[in-house]
């Protein structure tokens, strides 16, 4: 069983590998603003020469959905996030806006996530938001992966940084987390015994089944996926990829996925934030 599955997976990639199709070299311009959709990969990522946005690997029709905000199906969720931003919640009767002011004050925040907090823990956007909700507003935490509110808020905050280059820190207190992330990225797991790198580093540009493999960058999250019919988070996507290789996924919000998020984000340092991106 195990052998057959693996053979199938590899054969499907293999069959198309003769193509070695480059991501098409076309500019990504969203609402008149040109994004950095390809950039020289950082030196600490020896496996990549150039970092490419996942947008470049999508079909023309899927691409078109991301370049016009009106047509972007993720935008209604952003509207919802903006509404939540100024809605009071919890025992303190406060809204995000009461402390943070206009949401545009969040410009730049997405580019540095995930990052190490004051207590030395690695937190992603979701943890920072829930910390404010629970400890500053007296409100309930939003569920990390399924909550429409969390997705709407991370999308609305992410949008404030759209166009700005990803810039996560990998040194200092972040270093041990980054190292763990790197290790996880290259560790083969699951019945198919594959690592993230087997697909997203060794085979990007190739076809797997009917899908055009990208580098698995996360600069566009949360992204609207046509398959999901809604926005989805980084950890949900990681989970899906692990399930595809028949591996037991790590826990969303857990230390492994957070470390992996930091490492994957660093592979795309320099790419523009595209939140909310649209993928198939």
């Amino acid at each position: 069983m195990k052998k057959t599955l693996m053979a199938t997976a590899l054969a499907t990639i293999g069959a198309a590998s003769a193509l070695m199709a480059d991501p098409a070299d076309i500019p990504l311009v969203i609402e008149g603003e040109e994004m950095i959709s390809s950039v020289k990969a950082p030196d600490y990522i020896p496996g990549l020469d150039t970092a490419y946005s996942g947008w470049l690997f999508r079909s023309e029709e899927t691409q078109a959905l991301e370049i016009d905000d009106f047509e972007n199906p993720g935008m209604p969720a952003v509207d919802y996030g903006l509404e939540l931003w100024s809605t009071a919640d919890g025992s303190e009767g406060k809204s995000c806006a009461d402390c943070h002011g206009d949401i545009s004050e969040m410009a730049g925040v997405r580019t540095t996530m995930p990052k190490v907090n004051e207590n030395g823990e690695l937190w992603a956007m979701e943890e920072y938001i829930n910390n404010c909700r629970v400890n500053r507003m007296g409100a309930e935490a939003w569920k990390r992966i399924k909550s429409p509110e969390m997705l709407a808020m991370t999308a609305a905050i992410g949008l404030q940084s759209r166009g700005m280059p990803m810039n996560v820190a990998i040194d200092g207190p972040a270093e041990p987390f980054w190292k763990l992330g790197e290790e996880l990225y290259y560790t083969r797991v699951g019945q198919l015994n594959m690592s993230c790198a087997n697909c997203h580093e060794d085979n990007y540009g190739n076809m797997i089944r009917a899908d055009h493999l990208s580098q698995g960058q996360i600069n566009g999250f949360p992204t609207y996926r046509l398959k999901w019919g809604g926005l989805g988070s980084i950890h949900r996507r990681f989970k899906g990829c692990m399930k595809n290789i028949r591996a037991e996924p790590y826990k969303p919000g857990g230390p492994e996925f957070l470390a992996l998020e930091l490492y994957v984000a660093s592979r795309g340092n320099g790419l523009s934030v595209e939140t909310p991106a649209v993928r198939n």
Partner: protein
């Protein structure tokens, strides 16, 4: 070597396509056309249906239809559990029989557009859309 994305997608799909059944309009699809035309034959004419050759996901497939002079357009997806997609009636303030929307396709199939012209005649056109992941269910 540089290959366009479209070529890559098409070539990658090759193997999958061979296994697929030949296409034909479902009985339900034919019935829906007949109901729309009242049994009249729909001929060829100035009607354009724009849809991707290959849709990356059947959940959201963009389509546009234009039929200058039409008073009503019906769109059908012949391979869906039920073929009806949408029906558009153009009123007196319309700027022309031209619309775009997004639809779900359960799999590779023919999409049909039928237009009713101002003189009561009907014209139609069809396009095949290949779907890599079905949009119905799951």
């Amino acid at each position: 070597m540089k290959i366009t994305r479209r070529d890559a997608v098409a070539m990658g799909l090759g193997a999958t396509m061979v296994a697929m059944l030949p296409l034909r309009v479902s009985a339900a699809g034919e019935e829906a056309v007949m109901a729309f035309t009242g049994g009249a034959e729909a001929g060829e004419g100035d009607i354009t249906l724009t849809a991707p050759e290959i849709a990356e996901n059947g959940n959201t497939v963009p389509i546009s239809v234009a039929a200058p002079g039409a008073v009503e357009i019906m769109v059908l997806a012949t391979g869906n559990p039920s073929p009806e997609v949408a029906n558009f009636k153009f009123g007196t303030a319309s700027g022309g029989a031209e619309v775009s929307t997004r639809m779900r396709l359960a799999g590779t199939q023919d999409v049909i557009a039928v237009a009713k012209m101002a003189d009561g005649s009907f014209i139609k056109t069809a396009r095949n859309v290949k779907v890599t992941i079905g949009g119905c269910g799951g």
